[in-house]
Point group: C2
Chain length 331, copies 2
């Protein structure tokens, strides 16, 4: 045995392999063995699919499990590595961050071999899996407290060629929304690291509370569309049905495109994801918890836009993000 | 000041009052002042509406806030007390139970004046508010990890007259589902206490993760229908639109009508709330977290039934409830 992160099987073996990505023990946690599926059909695209980076976003792990079922028959060429649960500690706890060290796995890439358990997971993925592929699909969702449409997401990439290839791959999911999301907190994201290594990296996202049978089918259809676009499986890519439509739009969210809670209170959403709003339209209401005689705070749209994501009704502190706005992407 | 639970205003004053239900301090928590709204239009039905019993079920508090806005103009007679957040400590923490003492407010009724803070809240409600009304609507939901249709719920009541009146009131919400739910864990429930006092007690329930604008409108329409049926406000009661239909059904769930996880794993829902299933139909799949080479556990329908509630996809331990089944109520 080695004390370095490693796979328990050889990526050169043809056909299907199942085994583990071993994350070495540290002072804070014993050795982790993350189940990995691998389907090697020879020459062709090399793809890594990961889920369960955040433990309260379960669409990804479940869709990844479904792929494990049908990919061995459907895949016609290339190599696909599937790691359904990047962070089993967070999945078991149904928390975004790892309970053991409190870290967000998607903020510690490329990780540290001598770091805490979350950093060691990132290190194992960065070191053992990422170099073996050209393309990565990281299956996320917006978690239980946001409404968000089925979407594939990428972030701006400085390299123009990689940006173009990545945006094309993102649109290939043919989900209701393709989103170019400019974020101000990207250091340590899996995305940022993968892009720095020249990889095409796309996040699937999905929001809306319950992880149910209908939403899982839409999500799976998006991933299947992307596999078809890569040439890994045969078939015809088509938009899944969402709100009785089969169509998609490409939107852009800038790093300033969110609205925050001016005071603490109970947030009442008054619009839904993908609503098109005009300047001054009512988006939500913030009710005081302390009194029923004060006027509530009204959240208005600052400009014409498409609602991209909206917080679920709940108590919020001051300065929490409530709404993300967006507009059609102009290239 | 008194050290007993009390209201800060007089229920004999006509018109609108806002104030507080004061829950005395104890060794574990300081005095709590729960905001209360009251609209007294003289003779007529006397109703208590409560929300926020569980802190991660926010539909109720938000719909209660909406009522505070329009009830003063709409109410034509009678007396309505609204307490939007029964348990502000749990609402602020977005938890079912009270963080301070770990108790479920809906399992400690009628409470204890010398008990911990959750028991003191129950005591204040039981002692100060319940005796003033004949009817109680407690606005719940299924919380973020279940899919459940918009429903009004009651539990079996031994007194046949009270049962008939309660079921009639429950159906008056005209929500997609009216549910008579036989539970095996009713001691300490607000319902059980209220029924023991001869009150008509109905729970509104709602499931499906995100608390959004569309679901809030359905929920509010149900409460408005019930207010119309009581004669407190004028108007025409009609079924709200749900899944493009305007209709309702009355279902029954027995205390044995649930399916549990045989082993720990990731639960994948394969059906949706209100699906009609036959014996042997696939309801869900349980995937091992430890390996990708084991066969998953399949959850089948044990008999023909209507799916009443289904867990959101997530990691579950062994023996957790995954699905509630139901069938049309036969009286």
């Amino acid at each position: 045995m080695t004390n370095k992160p490693h796979l328990t099987f050889d990526l050169n073996i043809p056909g299907v392999s199942t085994g583990y990505l071993v994350v070495p023990e540290g002072t804070d946690h014993e050795t982790l063995s993350l189940p990995v599926f691998y389907c090697n059909k020879g020459e062709g695209p090399r793809l890594l699919i990961t889920g369960g980076c955040h433990g309260n976003e379960l669409e990804g792990p479940i869709v990844a499990r479904r792929l494990v079922d049908w990919l061995p028959k459907a895949q016609t060429c290339g190599k696909v590595i599937i790691l359904p649960e990047l962070n089993p500690l967070a999945v078991r706890a149904w928390t975004r961050n790892t309970p053991a060290d409190g870290l967000d796995l998607n903020r510690v890439f490329p990780g540290r071999v001598e770091g805490s358990v979350t950093e060691r997971i990132a290190d194992a993925v960065s070191r053992v899996l990422v170099p073996s592929v050209e393309t990565i699909f990281d299956l996320h969702s917006f978690g239980p407290d946001w409404e968000f449409p089925p979407a594939s997401i990428t972030h701006p990439v400085a390299d123009a060629d990689l940006m173009a290839k990545t945006l094309q791959m993102t649109e290939a999911f043919k989900l209701p929304v393709t989103l170019l999301w400019e974020r101000d907190d990207t250091p340590g994201m899996f995305d940022t690291f993968a892009h720095s290594q020249g990889k095409v990296f796309v996040c699937a996202e999905f929001g809306g509370g319950t992880v149910g049978a209908v939403s899982l089918s839409i999500y799976e259809a998006g991933v299947r569309n992307a596999l078809i676009a890569l040439g890994l499986v045969e078939g015809k890519a088509e938009f899944p049905s969402f709100r009785h439509q089969k169509s998609g739009q490409t939107l852009e969210t800038l790093s300033s495109d969110f609205l925050i809670s001016p005071v603490p209170g109970i947030f009442e959403p008054r619009c839904a994801a993908l609503d098109i709003v005009k300047k001054g339209d009512l988006l939500g209401i913030l009710h005081s918890m302390d009194t029923l005689s004060a006027d509530p705070q009204i959240i208005y749209a600052p400009a014409g836009s498409t609602v991209c994501a909206i917080r679920s009704g709940a108590h919020v502190e001051a300065n929490e993000r409530l709404v993300y706005l967006s507009r059609p992407l102009k290239l």
